[in-house]
Point group: C2
């Protein structure tokens, strides 16, 4: 028996035609939206900017999901991998009324249709992609590869949600997408929702066939089975036939999902029974229902339908005629009333209220965001009896705070990391939770469980993508990563930052929790992995994004890390990058001072300098290792050149260095000058590439006196102190820099400079002989024996 | 019948034990390499930096490959996915003699052994990974994900080569690796060599089990079949049993490879018969043959063997005792002579000369590099009768040059791109070649063939990785990509740049062809894709790399693009980034001037300015669109404020802006001042993020007068001129900037400023009304009607 009655099939097909009509209308028409007049050149847009090829397939899936939503009262969203199919998603949001609700000028009548068409890819209008402006979207889909991973991120901790994830066969060739299929092993059918992937094989990319469309179907089925899915195939180019197949297979898939969830949720499932989730392979022609042939070349069913099949509709009457025929082929007169509204019989096919995929609050996650329940971070403070005399592993301390955040927010916060949570010394979290793992578990495994709150997979792409999906649907999280390898997701960060920037100007989009990074195992302490693991450049990448979106923090010790993390986790709509060490390092500030310092973001450390007045030199530092080396240099300076007045400035919030016209955290000229003077040398020890400090400070008065040391791409497998020496960031070199910059110090300084050079050579010799740093250097603490302890 | 005779098995096992012994020795021992004395604390390294877990598996595969190489006279290299297994690859290079050939101090005796052990992960010694310092390596393996794609890159156009590609099961979780399996569809069994992937399932990452080790074996087999392979399984923890299995399956795989190649090369194969290539799944314990248990916890066969199973061998006598037992378990006395040389019976197992995988010249590709045969690029010049009056599509012109390079170098050059070669207007190349494609080909396909020289797949990771493998083995190539999405491979660029930097200091490593990028479809002309496709930040990322390695070029038109590309393709050991437009744009320079301009890299365009002497303002520009807007602004300036003396400086080679102490291409202060003056305002229109210009120029005298316009992260789907206006880079705004910066211009300037503001509003209004730019703006050419044409 057929799944669809004749009547249902006819209605579904009509709804699909309506969506296709509106899609073509958006790409082509400036006016005359219902073709009530003869189609004239000036009814057509002068520049045709849009993508037709993928759109009919997206529309097809939308209307079939609508049927399923109504039939099952499904709570569902639609993630569009081929985001350039924007016209289709806009069309559907319009057809079901959401579009007019959020954009009141785009009304459900002829005038609204005109505006809907005109605004698309038009100056002052809307983008061509499934952008933040598109209701129901959590995924712009411009940079391909992240549809499936976003879908899984949305499904985590949303047990009632079904995410339809359309994966284009172009996108399927990307690395991140290829890895994303494995996400099922990290999804708990009991506590998480479901993802239904649809691999849409329309066969072509911009100019080429796609790999997965050109391998034998049995090989493709093997691939999907290998990824852990049970593939359901739907193929054809006859609409009625495809409608029937798709309705049948979609029902089968949703039945199977319900069954898997039912089994899991009624306690019948053993953890190791990883189910094969259903997925759909939909094989339909690219540019389906569009012009079969243009100027003698086949277009429908080929890569030539990728963008605009008819390119000269403004100037070429034949093309225009063909456009009209194409539009008319959808029989708009059957679909829309004379006033331009969807006919009621079709309007009734859409789900209602928040069941509409375009109006599901999950896709405007800020609406659903619950505040994190935050334990008092000061309760985790390390005791700091004196500045810089005791040590902690900062991230290990943070682990206790994170543990209790996880405990207090059992369905609202997750920790993400590429197999590095333990390596990054956050293992305390495993006192309260496990790593999410729905594949096989064997004796001896360390904290694995299907409902674990720690997401670990050796893929920065998956960590980032899951977290993005989780945040975009209103929940909270933290991504902890080796500093060097966070570059793997540079481009994903770009896209998320662009999303955040854009949503700030969309009133109906509510703020979402910030994207928080904890970068550790950083450039200065990759002792055992060496050069390939040494790269602090993610900060540089991030600060290229819009100033109102990005924040960078370099807490120098455990208490400042606690304070900064608390701040970041409470924030909204930012990208927060925290860089902190995991190795044993000095505690500089007791908690009260840490809080004060972090809330200023930058400040003078009076206890470290030797003057309350105007200094001869400013020693500035940002980052744990630069702070250590700066203080050690300051101590040497105070011992050997006590006549020099030195001020120590520590920077936690890097954006404080910028001009207040450039960044909302930026300092005024007056405040900057008060810290760094107007004319004194500033020796700045910085965690990353030194020129970033110049780029941030170049507008400030005293910039020409800034002398910055940082990572200059020198490194290997070696000791910590050898690393700083390789990059001239060591205490001895910093002191040499002071001597070189402070005028007229006389001959004692020249001798001291020589001594410092000798100390460097001795340190290198020691290291190469013993294979470890001289303990006099590595065990250094503030004030030990040099009479500079806090008084 | 067994594949291995008892004698063979025993020898192979002994060789494996020798490699394992040397691996453990490197990780632990400072001295007493053959345990001739009792093992004392100071024989052991104070800091243990290395990774044991993966190493025995790598050593196992090495000795078995050696057997196959000798038996078949194979030309083979070994790509080590788990690059942290460095001790194993170093051990094998040492065992077969290569190590001592390239590092004469590491001799094949006890003294050499001592040095071999000591140098590993030791200050002043060698890195812990399979770094450039390791003979036979083309793959550092620190950032995981690229083993397989590098292997394929090496195999292309090397028909006699077999690349063993070991993929760790951790690495297998990454996106790039997951996509890499599909590389087989782009390999021509007739003209390319073979890749034999080994998926090494040792079951664990740093702290977690691996996904592929925990799915049912049948699912894994499906996955491999789905990827297009015929999997051969080898599993066990009994060495003798595993030796026999591995020898048998390796033989079967190599037989099958020979058969596929034979079929393809004797013309019996139809293009569509994509063969299932063999691959091996090797399942052996992590840390195999290491300590089974330490301090009561299981170590062998778990994630606890990832790094150093015994962590306290210096301070804990029990650990040291266990280390001794572990080392002795390999029975070194059977493996090495009293003088510390490998016993002759074992030494005889290694292949000889260049058949040794550590000595194969393919893995030191510069040795094999043949010069590209370069047609004369000036033959492709566009005719430029007057500066800036005619138009070309620069990349389309370049396409002709590339076509003929491909033609002249049929086995030595490839063009790589993520489905964008046609979109980037390089289609002329298809007059001489096709896209590489070994999957199904159907009628209507556009230039697909197994032996195509254009590598197109929708994965920037694969394009980059294939090209890296191709370059590292001594061939030439060019990667053309949308500018925004090249960020996808930021981290891969990092690793390649680090490789290039390191090899400069390794005398036996020969220079290899440069890594060349052509970035087009750039930020200013993403009219139809909008914000997600707009990002010029790759340049910023690249300039963080070591100055001696990176070069960035912004040719403003077709002839300069030809000249720059010719230069880049001839170079060695650089990363060259070329950013150029693909849209119709003005031709500024005839070829002779283009050559002169490009060889200087920066220069005054006399024809555009109105003074030979000291100017009142310098209008500088870098990039095609900034050059266009600058010239249009200059023309307005010359028309409306003819009393102002303006100089136009165009920058092609971005690194010329830096100080000569910072970059080898940098200008001296004197030269910089001669171009930019010491004190006049400089209005700089730049292609990318404006602060990069500040970062490059901050050391120069006149820096404080630099006023830079560029992309400030504002964009959407809109017209070209609207894009430049959104970012204040338009001609009108540049002129306003001049007025704001040149002192005492009087009231006529104030009026002009107002006019310019009005012109911006009018332009925006026009665009929003018509959906395209005002033709007066978009059709602008130099000198048209304003009396500023060249005279």
């Amino acid at each position: 028996m057929a799944t669809l009655s004749k009547k249902e099939l006819s209605l579904i097909d009509a709804y699909w035609r309506a969506a296709n009509y509106l899609s073509v209308g958006q790409i082509y028409l400036l006016d005359n939206p219902l073709l009530e007049e003869p189609l004239a050149a000036d009814h057509v847009k002068p520049r045709l900017l849009g993508h037709w090829g993928t759109t009919p397939g997206l529309n097809l899936l939308y209307v079939h999901m609508n049927r399923a939503i109504r039939a099952r009262d499904l709570d569902a969203i639609y993630v569009t991998g081929p985001g350039h199919g924007g016209p289709g998603l806009v069309a559907n949001a319009y057809l079901e009324g959401t579009y007019s609700e959020v954009y009141s000028d785009i009304s459900r009548d002829t005038d609204g249709l005109r505006r809907l068409f005109r605004q698309f890819s038009f100056p002052g209008g809307i983008p061509s992609h499934v952008a933040p402006e598109t209701p129901g979207s959590i995924h712009e889909g411009g940079e391909l590869g992240y549809a499936l991973v976003h879908a899984f991120g949305a499904a985590f901790d949303n047990p009632d949600l079904t995410v339809l994830a359309v994966v284009g066969d172009g996108e399927a060739e990307t690395g991140p997408l290829a890895a994303s299929w494995h996400s099922g092993k990290f999804l708990d059918p009991e506590r998480d929702g479901a993802v239904l992937p649809v691999l849409h094989l329309n066969g072509y990319k911009i100019a080429n066939p796609t790999v997965l469309a050109r391998i034998p179907e049995e090989q493709l089925a093997d691939l999907m089975r290998g990824y852990g899915y049970d593939p359901h195939f739907v193929s054809g180019d006859d609409p009625a036939d495809v409608h029937e197949q798709l309705a049948t297979e979609l029902d089968a898939c949703l039945d199977r999902i319900a069954e898997i969830q039912q089994t899991a949720r009624t306690g019948k499932k053993k953890p190791a029974d990883a189910p094969a989730w259903p997925m759909i392979v939909l094989r339909t022609p690219k540019g389906w229902t569009g012009p079969a042939e243009v100027d003698g070349q086949q277009v429908e069913g080929t890569f030539r339908s990728h963008q605009v099949p008819l390119a000269e509709t403004r100037t070429n009457a034949d093309h225009r005629k063909q456009l009209k025929k194409w539009l008319k082929s959808y029989r708009p007169e059957e679909l829309f009333t004379d006033e331009g509204a969807l006919v009621p019989e079709l309007a009734a096919l859409a789900p209602e209220g928040v069941r509409r995929m375009s109006a599901n609050p999950v896709a405007n996650g800020g609406q659903l965001t619950r505040e994190l329940r935050m334990p008092d971070f000061t309760a985790y403070a390390v005791d700091v009896p004196d500045h810089g005399t005791t040590s902690s592993e900062a991230t290990k301390v943070l682990g206790e705070f994170l543990r209790d955040i996880i405990k207090a927010n059992p369905d609202n916060f997750r920790l993400f990391g590429p197999d590095e949570v333990a390596s990054n010394r956050l293992s305390k979290v495993f006192e309260t939770t496990d790593r999410a793992w729905s594949a096989e578990i064997i004796p001896g495994d360390d904290h694995l469980a299907p409902d674990g709150r720690v997401m670990e997979v050796l893929s920065e792409h998956l960590c980032q993508g899951w977290l993005e999906g989780y945040l975009l649907t209103g929940r909270h999280g933290l991504f902890t990563c080796y500093e060097a390898f966070i570059h793997i997701i540079d481009s994903m960060l770009n896209q998320h930052a662009k999303w955040l920037k854009t949503t700030r100007d969309i009133p109906w989009r509510r703020p979402i929790p910030s994207l928080n990074y904890l970068l550790t195992s950083h450039v200065w302490r990759q002792d055992h992995n060496g050069f390939s693991h040494q790269d602090p450049g993610f900060i540089d990448h991030v600060v290229n994004k819009k100033a109102e979106v990005v924040r960078v923090y370099l807490p120098p010790d455990a208490n400042t890390l606690l304070s900064v993390t608390d701040h970041c986790l409470r924030s909204r709509d930012y990208v927060n990058v925290i860089v902190a060490g995991k190795q044993k390092a000095l505690n500089y500030l007791p908690m009260d001072e840490a809080i004060a310092h972090c809330s200023r973001g930058i400040g003078i450390w009076d206890w470290a300098g030797n003057t309350d007045g105007e200094p001869d030199v400013v020693m500035a530092c940002a980052g744990d290792i630069p702070t250590l080396e700066t203080l050690a240099a300051v101590e040497l300076l105070r011992e050997h050149l006590p006549q020099i007045k030195v001020r120590v400035v520590n920077v936690v919030d890097l954006m404080r260095l910028q001009d207040d016209r450039e960044h909302p955290h930026g300092l005024t000229s007056r405040d900057f000058d008060a810290l760094f003077t107007k004319d004194k040398p500033v020796i700045f020890a910085y965690h990353g590439y030194p020129w970033l400090i110049h780029r941030l400070t170049y507008r400030h008065t005293n910039h020409d006196n800034f002398h910055v040391r940082g990572y200059k791409e020198e490194g290997t497998t070696t000791t910590p102190f050898d690393m700083v020496m390789l990059n001239d960031l060591d205490r001895f070199h910093l002191l040499m820099d002071v001597i070189d910059r402070v005028p007229s110090l006389g001959s004692s300084a020249a001798n001291l400079r020589q001594q410092m050079g000798d100390a460097r050579l001795a340190a290198r010799r020691y290291t190469r002989e013993h294979g470890e740093d001289d303990p006099q250097i590595s065990d250094w603490t503030w004030g030990a024996g040099h009479g500079t302890a806090d008084d």
